[in-house]
Amino acid sequence: MLQVGKTYDPLLKRPFCIFKREGNVIQFVYRIRGKGTRLLSNCKKGDIIQAIGPLGNSYPAPKKDFIAVAGGIGIASLFPLLERFKNKAFLFYGARTKNELVMINKAKSLAKKIFTTTDDGSIGQKGLITDVLNDFLENRTMPVYAGGPMPMLQKVSDIVAGRGIECYASLEEHMACGVGACLGCVVKTVSGYKRVCKEGPVFPIEEIVW
């Protein structure tokens, strides 16, 4: 969770994935979405912002080749996996338009194979990445790792359902504390509400009640 401003508006820290960590340097990749991320983007070299983390869990390590499904900036959650398991991932990466497929070249170099779609067809195939995934899966049973907006994750969930595929999704929910104290960031699971910041953000996809 990163502080985005110095006054009380915006008030709360914002949750981000740790994109990369090398020695004392931690990198984040984010999309400017609303006023918090806009303010964050105004930070100058040398500015000090408060941060807490790492928080919550992360994707379990895949034991073999795997499928990574990224929707837009959801790629941020998958990058550490792609880097750690080079050339093992079939990466399905969709976004609304060309320049929202951030770091596409870097991603390409890390993946075994990459499939891309955009809603407007400005690059890659036109359409939804989940449709491409669905075609690809057929009888394959590789584990699936998915990060992106809720509607995409729900489609992934539908696709893998009942096929005996191991599948993990990294969820996003509004957060206040980030440490499991406020119960603000819950997602409904088969065993009741769970906190995205503490028991998540990664959940076995079949546990989630949509």
Binding site: D9, L11, E173, A176, V179, V186, Y193
Partner: protein, 302 residues
Amino acid sequence: MELTVNIGRLKLKNPVMTASGTFGYGEEYSEFVDLNKLGAIVVKGLSITPREGNPAPRIIETPAGMLNAIGLQNIGVKTFIKEKLPFLKKFKIPVIVNFFGDSIEEYVKAAEGLSKADGVDALEMNISCPNKQAGWIVFGTDPKVAFEVVNAVRKATDLTLIVKLSPNVTDIALMAKVAEDAGADAVSLINTITGMAIDIRTRRPKLANITGGLSGPAIKPIAVRMVYEAYRAVNIPIIGMGGIMNSEDAIEFMIAGATAVAVGTANFVNPSVTLDIIKGIESFMGKGGIMDVKNLVGGLRC
């Protein structure tokens, strides 16, 4: 320098505590805060039986504030005593347990259950909860009903009893007086102020629960005013809260009449803010030659 204050039979080593629902059951923040340094810890509100709470989204940021509609999710009195209290007992600070019910009976049962447990030092009853019997009208907004429920709990427990008042009332001084008359050892205020936010594109409420409770710096001026009004109405100590972000805010509440303060939303912004506030109060006292923190209480000059 004297930092201790008394709330009922509790002696706090300093006037800074955590606000219920913003500090979990203590454990969650123990990585960031040496709990032993706090005046007291107030845990998330408990009911006699566990509650699932509301669907998401439960939280929405607002200008200088936030709305929450957690829906009083909690593990219930029994599980709390079994699973959370042992951790809290390890610390040398008072554990204040916040609780609620949706009927007088449930309040009494929760109070009784908690009073029997070893390690609970005081009770804070949240009366900002809808009353099943009275058509889901909030206990804390009707003076008669408030008296009744506080009085019933008073009879059910020997522990120090703090009544947490709802700010959604016309006359907070009256409600404070009612709590005092019904046997409360202290009042705490303010709980969150009911608010809502709408997504204009979907035309749906931003919170799944439609309305939620507003907290944070946005409400501080209202909270300080209510503490000031309550202070002139009652003789029992007041625990002040609502938008406290730093030691200056805490001192402002004390000058308005609070014997102790509770820090809520600020924990989310800075997880070790409670310790900063304690240090800040000490340094303010040092600079101002204030020997006893109690000298700040109600020190407003009009």
